[in-house]
Amino acid sequence: MSQESLLKVEDLKVSFHTYAGEVQAVRGVSFEVKAGELLAIIGESGCGKSVTSRAIMSLVKAPQGEIKKGSKIIYHGKNLLEMNQKEQRAFRGGECSMIFQDALVSLNPTMKIGRQIIENIIQHRQISRKEARQEAILLLEAVGIPNPETRIDQYPFEFSGGMRQRAMIAIAIACDPKILIADEPTTALDVTIQAQIMELIKGLKDKLKTAVILITHDFGIVAGSANKVAVMYAGQIVESGGRDEIFYHPQHPYTLALLGSVPKLEWKNKQLLHAIKGTPPDLISPPKGCAFAKRCNYCMNVCLEEMPEITYFEAGHHASCWLHHKEVPAANKKMFQDDRKMIIVNENDFVVDEDQSYE
């Protein structure tokens, strides 16, 4: 952990200007990621996790999208947001690349897979088209696509869903990026293929020492692969820490609620799935207190009025919740802890598969 962080995001704020008003999609997010580390950002859809990843890639489109002043995305000591176009482009695809959610729409339907990979290689490396093609074949092979020589000249619609996502990964890793952002890479795929894809990403991380930012809403995926987890809600990180801390000692009611909503094999008593009541707040006019307050079982008066402070726990684990305030009555805290015990029945819930699953 002494390692220097590769990418550091500080107080990232992103807004979108829509007809209805300014949507504050990301409201002061900070995190960092080190080489060879996998950071999972988890949250419901619309919580700003994808926007965060796109902000890192400078893919937030003006004029609707705006990265607020004071936001910093520091890579190798340089603020990406202050780089010029050319440097940004070199960073995108070269230093940092991205795997998108739905490969079907994220690949150009009218361009052969090979060209889409080669395009990326040529853009960032000084090699000929012919060499790039060889490279592309190797890449396809590396991501587990059979017959890469023929596949390279096919169009995306000729690929199956899993194959497409593999091709997408091949594009992403074509230039040996230092950072890889995977935005819900497996959402559109079925379970067995999900596992294969995740294994592939994990393998890359270990082999190439790539830093991976995994955006997902699925704890199951996080459990098997993440080093660190950040839980996002309504444009903010509400809890962040090492995987085990988040899974076994969640400190934020939202994290707990998310964990509660994951079905578990070993639930014996026919517990119902804990759905989280309500829906996320409108980010055009975010609540002045805790954004989760109105959906929270432990909501206190203060939660509705003031933003909670950040409470730090063990190394790197922190959460923003009033429950951890020293003046909170023990009864309230106990309520939370009891619920936590009930939900996290078995400590092995999420680790079962870690060693055997993806084989």
Partner: protein
């Protein structure tokens, strides 16, 4: 102190608020579309222009109080003055009044013909899509044949068989235009029928009527509205062309097209006779076009964020 602390950290009364209330107001598709349209200044302006034009076409002919139907050659080709605001035409009729009266007919023809076209097209398209198979093939072939016969012949024949007047003209204008709507509706319904949410809703036991009412119609409606908005300028032009060829509306009835073709004959000496109808026609078509564009932007769900 305790009491103070207690109050702040007391559990909030959950019944005081509804977790769902925080939800951003659930704007329906149409509200959303309307909201988008409202943001489009140009579209709003054109809507205002259309309303003004519509109102003027209703009250305009009587506004100057001058005669616009009786031929009084003694006062023909007068320049604009305080009595005849835009002057008189080649037979001494008040141009100002005629302009609005002609506009009334053009608007009337365009909207009614567009509506008719859309209705016929929808029914035909829906029947094609719904019945499918052999019937679809035959009906598509009919559309194909109709598309390949130049509309002038079809129009001529209709005007001949049904005679002169408003109704035959309306009928002729819509009959030559409906095929595109039919094709579009057919395509859209076929696409929707395949789509997952419709399958899902039929699987959940929704009746056919419900599927049609709840899914097919709303999802086709935006396309139909767009189709109508874009056909109106086309139909206005078509009507003009027919009048110009002398097979459209016959005097004493007249439209902007008739005024335009009469204006063209008088152009060299009384440019105003061509200028004003042209300007009005341009304005009308322009407003419809811009509104159509605005509607497209507003109704296209792809741009919704």
């Amino acid at each position: 102190m305790n009491s103070l602390v207690d109050k702040r950290f007391e559990l909030a009364d959950q019944s005081r608020f509804d977790a769902d209330e925080v939800v951003r107001p659930n704007i329906s598709y149409w509200q959303d579309a309307w909201r988008r349209l409202k943001k489009n200044k140009l579209a709003l302006l054109s809507m205002a222009v259309l309303i003004i034009l519509f109102v003027m076409s209703m009250i305009g002919p009587g506004l100057s109080g001058q005669n616009y139907t009786t031929l009084t050659p003694e006062i023909k080709n007068l320049p604009p003055d305080s009595t005849y605001w835009l002057g008189t035409d080649y037979l001494g009729r008040d141009l100002f009044s005629r302009l609005w009266k002609g506009l009334r007919f053009s608007i009337f023809v365009a909207t009614v013909a567009a509506t008719l076209k859309v209705v016929i097209g929808c029914i035909y398209g829906a029947v094609m899509a719904y019945l499918g198979g052999f019937v679809d093939d035959v009906m598509m072939r009919i559309v194909e044949v109709l598309n390949s016969i130049p509309y002038l012949i079809v129009t001529l024949i209709i005007l001949v068989v049904l005679g002169n007047g408003y109704l035959p003209l309306l009928f002729a204008l819509c009959i030559t235009n409906w095929t595109s709507t039919a094709r579009m509706v057919r395509g859209q319904i076929l696409k929707l029928r395949e789509s997952e949410y419709i399958m899902a809703s039929s699987a959940l036991g929704a009746s056919t009527t419900r599927v049609i009412a709840k899914h097919l119609i709303p999802n086709t409606l935006s396309l139909i509205i767009l189709d109508m908005a874009t056909s109106i300028p086309h139909i206005i032009f078509d009507e003009t062309i027919l009048s110009f060829l002398g097979i459209g509306l016959q005097p004493p009835a007249f439209s902007l097209g008739t005024l335009l073709s009469a204006g063209q004959e008088a152009m060299a000496f009384y440019p105003a006779h061509l200028l004003f109808p042209s300007l009005l026609l341009c304005l009308l078509v322009l407003a419809f076009n811009i509104l159509g564009d605005g509607l497209r932007d507003a109704l296209d769900p792809q741009l919704r964020d």
